[in-house]
Structure formats: structure tokens, C-alpha cells
Symmetry: C2
Subunit: 325 residues, 2 copies
Amino acid sequence: MTMTPRDCPLPEFADVLAAAARIAPHAQATPVLRSHGLDALAGCELHFKAEHLQRTGAFKFRGACNAVFDLDDAEAASGVVTHSSGNHGAALALAARLRGIACHVVVPEGALRSKVAAIEAYGATLHHCAPGIAARESRCAEVQRATGAVLVHPYTDPRVIAGQGTAAMELLNAVTGLDLLVAPIGGGGLLSGAALAAAALAPRCQVIGAEPSGAADAYVSLQRGERVTAFTPDTVCDGLRGTLGEPNFALLRRLSVKILTVEDDATRAAMRLLWQRTKQLVEPSSAIALAAVLAYREVFAGRRVGIVLSGGNVDLDSVAALLAP
Amino acid sequence: MTMTPRDCPLPEFADVLAAAARIAPHAQATPVLRSHGLDALAGCELHFKAEHLQRTGAFKFRGACNAVFDLDDAEAASGVVTHSSGNHGAALALAARLRGIACHVVVPEGALRSKVAAIEAYGATLHHCAPGIAARESRCAEVQRATGAVLVHPYTDPRVIAGQGTAAMELLNAVTGLDLLVAPIGGGGLLSGAALAAAALAPRCQVIGAEPSGAADAYVSLQRGERVTAFTPDTVCDGLRGTLGEPNFALLRRLSVKILTVEDDATRAAMRLLWQRTKQLVEPSSAIALAAVLAYREVFAGRRVGIVLSGGNVDLDSVAALLAP
């Protein structure tokens, strides 16, 4: 019953298309936002895909919803399980509730309280564990054995990757002629899904991942040509501390995705700028994409740039620290 | 050249219509936002007019733009002047810049630094004065005499009232069957404009002003049937500290507008809720409208309610204090 990343086939663009149809009754078709002020500041034309306005406040709902509604009734009967410190857990909980099945979420110690509260509010059963990927996976396997629930991995599951790809697909359909498309990268679900969509819909569009310097495993992995998994994340971007997944790595390599690393200070400044100029409450893990554009101006100068604003689940109790210069 | 509130005729709905046409090339037609979560919490159906997404981050641009573009060339030649601690100043500065004329803004000591910076960024000339309406008006008259600039009062000017009325007009056109329409009240420009629009477009819709308990001059004025001007505002809503204007008072009385007073704690809680649930960065002076709905549940239960989210110019340096429980 246990499904490990190694068993996962790589999703294709057809899976993204199927996901779009599957999640359409449940997910928001989020708007694309513009800001002339930010265009002027960045020296390029920015198109923001507003996934912080997605249900549960993050793009994660797309992948979770696709995975849950792709299960046949027999699979779905015992519910779903995942490990998540945040947005994926809430997304899976809501998707399961919409299908009327059980949801178990393994939550590592140290996860943001506000995000854990959201997972619970959407009706999931919480299972606590120590931090770190090993503890998360082993606790998850325990819950699987005990309940028979189907694992929906936060970023290696091909149904999740295909679901996340629908965000970029909508953006590419809404805005023609994008030269570059920037999305944050943690485990790589969003970015590999975006790369699938761009390769099919806009092959000249360069897909770029924005990664925290303090958790730059994807950057190093693509440089070395092999997946690096031994690192200790140190970044304000709580949603980007995960380890690049195997299928995600394979897709990013195959589709020539580039990674730009960003310092946390630049991410915080970009978040502040987004709050001020667009009045949109995006979280640090989301603001990093604009931070990359501002930090590598020469890459983007004069180009038409898509940015995925991936989520808006800011911990309002620690907002002063986030906004400190 | 000096124009006092007493000289101002009361605007009519035809002026709102004319304003809509006049500002259309410049102002945003802002979206109407929904939140099922907030509907469930409030026990009614909420339709949020997103004026924090208006240019300069507040509805104020509508009135300022209408006033500036209504001037004939001879009037416009010497520019415009106003007194403002915030959003109206920035709005007038941008409107003047779009018309290519000078703008002078008298700014009282104690105004939010971030708002004063915005006024300056839009190209206005700043003139500082002591706080309080008397000092503001006398400094303003000085600047008028020195420059020949036309006064555009922040809320008593009939062109400003008519311009503000376009926000409610758009909301009423977008959402049919509103039972109630709630807008914040400071000087009364937004609320009296909204009342004009509602009286013409939805006469059964009750218009309600949300006013801070610590600056409840409109509430007291309508209770007594005469305008109260002697009070010292004490509220976190920096945009609602003004004194109800004479034409505004007359319109609110004539159009049977009701006022609900709201404690600052309730306003802060509503702001937090809006940030969490809608990811929209609205300022306290704006969140007060939702706070009124939550504080007077019986008035709104089961009804279709329009809410004007009037602005999003939050001072990010003091955000922790705003969010404290």
C-alpha cells in the first residue's frame, strides 16, 4: 500500500490537461494581476498569477484536489494521508472534505501554528512527528498501515505535479508571449508542473525557479546533475524548506529549468513591496519570485514575465518580524 | 477665491453620473470580492467593493479626479490645493499630475509618515501645519492666497462627493438586490456619495455608516439633528478622524442614512479577519465596515450586504501594533 517516490511515473502535459478538467468544479480560476508601479521598479512587464486567492490560500489546492478526485471509489474509501508543515496539508484536508473522505496529516514539530490550525479547521486528523523528512515519512507510513489511507505526497505524486501545472497553464493561456515564467521552488511540485505546461504551451518561455539561498538544494542538484538531499534548510520561506523530489528533479532537468537563488532579506523586501503596491497579502515563500526578478534585473530587463504568487498564508502573529528591514 | 463649505451646493445623482463618465479614463473599475468563509462567519451575504485596489490605494482618487478634471482650463492653470493627513492628499496629487497641473497639500503634524511619503511621491508640494481643522483650514487659505490654487476640500466639495458616489454606483450596478450598504464615515464624502447613488439606483437599500466610537461625531450629529464639531478624535482609524462636513450632514439626514459606532478592538479584529480570509491588505479605516456587520449581527442576519473596502494604505511599520489582539 505504501507508495514511494521511486514508484511514481513522470506526469505529462496530458495529465495537466486532465487535471484542469478534474479540478474545474472545485478550484478557483484565479486572476492575473498587474502593477504599473512594480513594472517600473523592475524594468520589465510583470503578470502575477494570484494563487494566494486559490482555495485554502495557496496553489496547493490544485494538486491535492486533482489527486483526491482521481482516486476510484475503492481507493478513496479509506481516505488519504500526507505529511505537510502547511499549505499542502490544508489543501488535502479541504479536497478530502469536498469528496467526503477521511484525511490524515502528519505535521512536524516547528510547523507554523497558523498553518496547523488551518489544517485542523478543514477537518483533517493531525498526527505529530519530529521535524525532518525521515521522521515525516516514517510516521506517514505508520498511519498508512494503520488506516489504509492513500498517500498523497506533497510534491512527488504525479497527480499533484499535474494539478499544480494547471496554475501555469491558466497563466500562459491568459497572457500570450511570456518570455519568462518564475515560480518558487521547495520540493518542486509547482515548478515541475509549470515546466510541463510551458513546454507544451509556450516552448520559447524560459521557466525559472526562485529558491532561498538557505535551502538551495535544487540549485545545487541541477548544477551537479544529481539530486542533493543532505542539507539543513535555513530560510524565512517556511513553504520552501522541503527537499527537491526525484520526479521533480527529473522533470526540471529534462525541461531545462533554471534556478535563481535569493537571500531572505531580498525576499522580505519583495514581500513588503507586494503588500504596499498591490495590497495583496502574499507569504514570503511566494514573494521570493518577485525578489528573484529584482535581484537578477539583467535576466528580465524589458521582457514579459509571468510570476506565480503561490500563497498568502502569512502568520499574522509574526508579521512584524517579517516586515523588519 | 477661497471657497468655504457653506458656498457648496449639494450634489445630486446626476453629478454622480457625470463624475463616472469624467473619471472613467483614469480610475480603476474595481472588482467586487466574495468570501464564503466570511459569509458564514457573519451570517449574511457580503459583497466587498475593493476600493483598496483603486489608484493610490483608496476610493479618494475618484473624488479628487472628478474635481480636478471638472475644472476649466483657466481654473486649472494655478493648480489645486487641499489639506489632508493621508489618502485624499495622495489622490489629489495623482489627479493633478494626470492633468499636468500643480498640487499643494497642507499636511498636519502627526499624519502617518507612509501616507505623507505617498503624497510627496505623487509630486505634490507639501505645506506643514499644526493638527486640528482650524490650523489646516487657515494654512490652506494662505496657500490659496499665495498661489491662486483652487481648493479641493477632502469631503465637502460637491465634485468630491459626486466622485466618491461612483464607488457605490459601481457596486449597486454589479450586485442586484442589496438590502444594506455599509461604508466607513469620517468627514462623510464617501458615505454621502453612496447615499446619493443608492437613493437613485436601489431606493430599498439601507445605507449605513460605520464610525469609530472614538470619533462618533456623525452619530451624535444625526441623533441631535445638528452638526457637532467640538470633539477630539481618539481612534486607530486614521482616515476617519475628520469632522462631518456640512453638505455631508445635510445629505445623510435627507437620505435617512444610519450610523453604527464601532470600538477600535472590533475594527482591529475585523482587519485581521479580512487579511486572513481574503488576503487583501485593507487599512483599519476600511475594516471598520466589516466590524460593524459583525458587531450588529441582528441588523444584517440573512441579508445581502454591500461593503465598501475603502482603502489599503496600511502603515507597515506599525503593523504589529495594529494586529495585536
